[in-house]
């Protein structure tokens, strides 16, 4: 069986709890190397995952030099993404980047053009989009270093683009709410219009200093001419209305549970991370374009920059 040798660059919380365990649970993937600039982090990770075939590195270039490593999963802070991604592409590696792709559109464009030039089968997954959907609110856990647009709203722009695959965004309206302490936007309302006339509304807010997750609420509502679907993440259910069906006629909106959910009250985050990694590995094995790819990611950054510009105007 053909397996993809994968290395993880950046072993912070998200790598430790989501990417590493999920990579270990995908039979087609073989986790062969871990890298973190912080030796203490590496020690912690080594104490938890001490498999003989996994090598540990402080310098990511050492990973990129290894020919047997096919793909890298980059979980570093956003500001360090660009250099690592460009280096990885140059070294013929498939790349999976934890969102967002880069800090600015120019950086992202650089990645796309090089990836195209090198004619690589490049991979990009901004987040667990296959299951995770949209957010209307989120608990603020860390300092808003990059602002909500780059750090959080990007997921949902990505998602909207995925839903409306093949349609470009023709116009954008944006309103932002700024936090005085950090001078960063912590709330964003975007109204997007696609080529085919579909409207996308994204409202993302960080709930400041909330002590529980009780107020966290993420959902996508899709309204069509003959039906409606609401996808909830914190309460992992799909609420559906399909005009004319017996069930909708009788009970109206009805809720169904995703196939992998084990209970309506238990979150799906682990499964979502695994699904995106599985898609990445599968794309490499089958030599097909992943969704979203680098171009998609650059488009997201384009929309973010445009939103900021529109707001300032």
């Amino acid at each position: 069986m053909k397996r993809i040798n994968v290395a993880v660059i950046g072993c912070g919380y998200i790598a430790e709890h989501y990417y590493i365990p999920n990579l270990l649970s995908i039979p087609e993937a073989k986790l062969v190397a871990l890298c973190d600039i912080n030796e203490e982090r590496l020690k912690i990770i080594r104490s938890k995952i001490n498999l003989p075939h996994i090598s540990f590195y402080k310098d990511y270039n050492k990973i990129l030099e290894r020919d047997y490593i096919d793909a890298v999963v980059i979980c570093n802070p956003t500001r360090t993404h660009v250099k690592i991604v460009l280096d990885a592409i140059k070294m013929d590696k498939h790349v999976f980047i934890e969102k967002p792709m880069a800090i600015s559109l120019n950086e992202a464009k650089g990645i796309v053009s090089i990836a195209k030039k090198e004619r690589e089968s490049y991979g990009w997954m901004s987040n667990a989009f296959l299951i995770h959907i949209e957010a209307h609110s989120e608990t603020l856990i860390m300092k808003p270093e990059d602002g909500i647009l780059l750090d959080y709203t990007c997921h949902f722009i990505d998602l909207l683009r995925w839903y409306l695959d093949g349609n470009n965004i023709s116009s954008v309206l944006a309103m932002l709410y700024f936090d005085k302490k950090y001078n960063k936007e912590i709330g964003a309302s975007l109204l997007l219009r696609f080529d085919n006339g579909v409207l996308g509304i994204i409202n993302t807010f960080w709930l400041y200093n909330y002590t529980t997750w009780a107020a966290v609420n993420r959902y996508v509502g899709i309204v069509g001419t003959k039906g409606k679907i609401i996808i909830e993440q914190s309460d992992p259910t799909l609420t559906i209305y399909k005009e004319g069906t017996l069930l909708s006629r009788l009970v109206g909106l009805h809720r169904i549970m995703p196939r992998y959910a084990i209970h309506p009250k238990l979150p799906l985050s682990q499964i979502a991370y695994r699904k995106e990694l599985e898609h990445f590995i599968d794309s490499i094995l089958r030599d097909k374009e992943p969704k979203p790819n680098a171009e998609d990611a650059a488009s997201v950054l384009y929309i973010i920059e445009l939103s900021k510009k529109v707001f300032l105007q």
């Binding site: 709890h17 529980t212 259910t237 069906t245 017996l246 196939r259 209970h263």
Partner: protein, 366 residues
């Protein structure tokens, strides 16, 4: 929820004219059914076994279903019809083949047979159930526009009677889950019927079954077809007809209580077209007094249900401990303990729900 009128028609089957006339008349007496163009109509017969002939009253006679298909095609020439059933003691495919249903696909170009046990499933959260948290149902049921339930009139060792209300149990795709959920039959049936309330309910009472039904009973000729838009009202009339009290049939009693159906609201319309109150039934129609199994045997059946009910609650506690163990070994432990994921009161309520609510689905954890 919009329910059908509790009007029940009772029509005699004239052997010389065939069952088709009786079906047409029974449906028309309750107001008829005219499906919209392009719609998908599901017919759910009762094929609980593939090893009984249609004359025994154990399974729905294919001739009855054929007459319903003819009726539907007469009402609208652009509909698709699905005959749906899930596996029972034999596979539904075998039942379709041996009981003559497979011929329907050859006769009618718009009819297809659907073994629900082979369908993709989805887990649905019932809107009107206090007891059932999740039900796993075949995906096909989400797509149908109309449902017609066609049951037999039978005695049932666990429940005393089975008719339309219980026919919906066959919409559950997995037989092991159906067997496991027998102790919560009333709750499951209530959830299923309120989600998939049949647009038409027809009881094939040409032959009824007395004694140790639903499979091993003794056939009794009644020569009747019953029809209604209200699946519970039709069962109440059928119960009256066989001389059984509705309060003695657990799933009917439960449904009456939760639907708040008043017997006074039910009307019966006979062959000759006169509308009468259900309360006057004794005066207008013959009572057949179908025999049942000995009381001691029935009580043992009910006792076994009680014990099995308890075991399901205990199993829920077991699953809960597994989940708690899982939580304590994940990074969420701290968050849960600090009450950041949800407040303590909400956690306790979730735990209680987890123990007391029933999942009618294959569990994928534990």
């Amino acid at each position: 929820m919009k329910l059908g009128e509790p009007i029940v028609s009772i029509v005699d089957v004239d052997k010389a004219r065939g069952v088709k006339k009786a079906i047409y008349k029974a449906i028309n007496l309750t107001g008829g059914l005219k499906p919209k163009k392009g719609s998908l109509v599901a017919i759910k017969p009762n094929l609980c076994t593939a090893r009984k002939s249609p004359e025994t009253g154990v399974i729905t006679n294919v001739e009855v279903v054929k007459a319903i298909i003819d009726y539907l095609n007469d009402q609208c020439d652009d509909i698709q019809i699905l005959i749906v059933e899930s596996n029972s003691d034999r596979s539904a495919d075998e039942a379709f083949r041996r009981l003559g249903y497979h011929e329907l696909e050859d006769i009618y170009s718009n009819v297809k047979l659907k073994n629900l046990s082979k369908d993709r499933t989805i887990k649905i959260i019932p809107n009107f159930s206090h007891k059932i948290s999740i039900i796993e149902i075949p995906e096909t049921l989400l797509k149908i526009n109309y449902l017609i339930s066609v049951a037999c009139l039978k005695r049932h060792v666990n429940e005393r009677y089975t008719g339309i209300w219980k026919n919906s149990y066959g919409l559950l795709p997995y037989k092991p889950i159906r067997i496991k959920m027998h102790p919560f039959l009333s709750e499951v049936l209530f959830a299923l019927n309120t989600m998939f309330w049949p647009d038409l309910s027809i009881i094939d009472a040409e032959t009824a079954l007395e004694g140790p039904g639903p499979i091993e009973g003794i056939p009794i000729n009644l020569g009747k077809i019953l029809c209604s838009r209200h699946p519970l009202a039709i069962d109440l009339v059928a119960l009256k007809m066989i001389g059984e009290k509705c309060s003695k049939v657990p799933h009917i009693k439960y449904a009456m209580k939760h639907l708040k159906l008043d017997e006074k609201e039910i009307a019966v319309i006979l062959d000759k077209g006169s509308l009468r109150s259900y309360l006057d039934f004794n005066e207008i129609n013959e009572i057949y007094n179908l025999k049942f199994i000995p009381k001691s045997a029935y009580l043992l059946y009910r006792l076994s249900m009680r014990i099995r009910k308890l075991s399901i609650y205990l199993e829920n506690i077991g699953y809960l401990f597994s989940l708690m163990g899982y939580t304590l070994r994940t990074p969420f432990k701290e968050e849960v303990i600090k009450g950041r994921i949800m407040p303590l009161k909400a956690i306790l309520s979730t735990i209680l729900n987890f123990i007391l609510k029933i999942e009618v689905a294959e569990r994928i954890y534990g």
